[in-house]
């Protein structure tokens, strides 16, 4: 049976998915950000110790050592981890899918305080505290 894959961006944005749809987008954005960041991070770590690539390594370093980037990537990682735990549990025990919305609220209740403390520390360090 064929599936239709064509959904325009306009239709996608108009889709009223609410909370679960938001986690879907954040999970994707977070995952993509992580795989790109970690790949560049590993390459920079390698190039830093090579005579031909030290300058490029330092260049990539300065991007992810910037506190604004860290604020972004910490949110990506932490949300992906917490949301991934929900997906794993609900997929491996499909009966629990009934409580998906409660699980998403629980997710935010874990994310907000943990990210809040990390955010406070990163910003405090950035401002010279």
């Amino acid at each position: 049976m064929p599936l239709k894959r064509d959904v325009s961006l306009k239709d996608a944005l108009r889709y009223q998915g609410k909370g679960p749809m938001l986690t879907y987008w954040l999970h994707r954005i977070g995952g993509l950000s992580m795989i790109i960041f970690i790949s560049l991070h590993v390459l920079a770590g390698y190039m830093l110790n090579q005579p031909w690539g030290a300058r490029a390594g330092v260049f990539i370093d300065t991007i992810y050592e910037n506190w604004i980037f860290q604020v972004f990537i910490f949110a990506c990682v932490l949300f992906h981890i917490i949301n991934g735990l929900r997906i794993t549990i609900l997929d491996l025990w499909p009966r629990l899918i009934e409580y998906q919305r409660e699980a998403i609220w629980l997710e935010w209740m874990v994310f907000v305080p943990v990210y809040g403390i990390a955010l406070y520390t990163i910003v405090q360090n950035a401002l010279g505290g």
């Binding site: 049976m1 064929p2 599936l3 239709k4 894959r5 064509d6 994707r28 995952g31 993509l32 992580m34 795989i35 970690i38 790949s39 590993v42 390459l43 770590g45 390698y46 110790n49 860290q70 910490f74 990682v77 932490l78 981890i81 991934g84 735990l85 997906i87 794993t88 997929d91 491996l92 943990v114 403390i117 990390a118 520390t121 990163i122 360090n125």
Partner: protein, 139 residues
Amino acid sequence: MNLRTAPQRGVNFDYIMWIYTRLSALAMYALGLIGIIGALIMGARTDMSLPDLMRWAFTPEVTHVLNTNVANIDAWRTLFWRLMGSLLVLVGGAHGYHGLLNVLDDYVKSAPWRLFLRYFIIAIWIAMTVVAVYVIFTS
């Protein structure tokens, strides 16, 4: 109209990677927990901030400790931690690159291109894993 055949039932690449994504997530929680417990034993309780601890748990690699208050990094660069870091790279790399493939699959409409991307990303995954393990063992 852009059509594709629906996923097949039974054991195939998509099914194996679907279950792998879930199981590798569980494995990474375990590895992260070992990283956190190990760091707390080695002095993170007083010498590390929460973001530092999270960074270490995410990949237990000794350069992640350099900007903290930990004075002696010998305990943080043992063979055990290098193996833990490599394990995270192996498990997490496959998880992450498959996720990338999954997202691309949703937006690339041509079947030959999707097949090409699958092998292209597997090649990148192998290359990046080799580089990452090399970096972990030489840092």
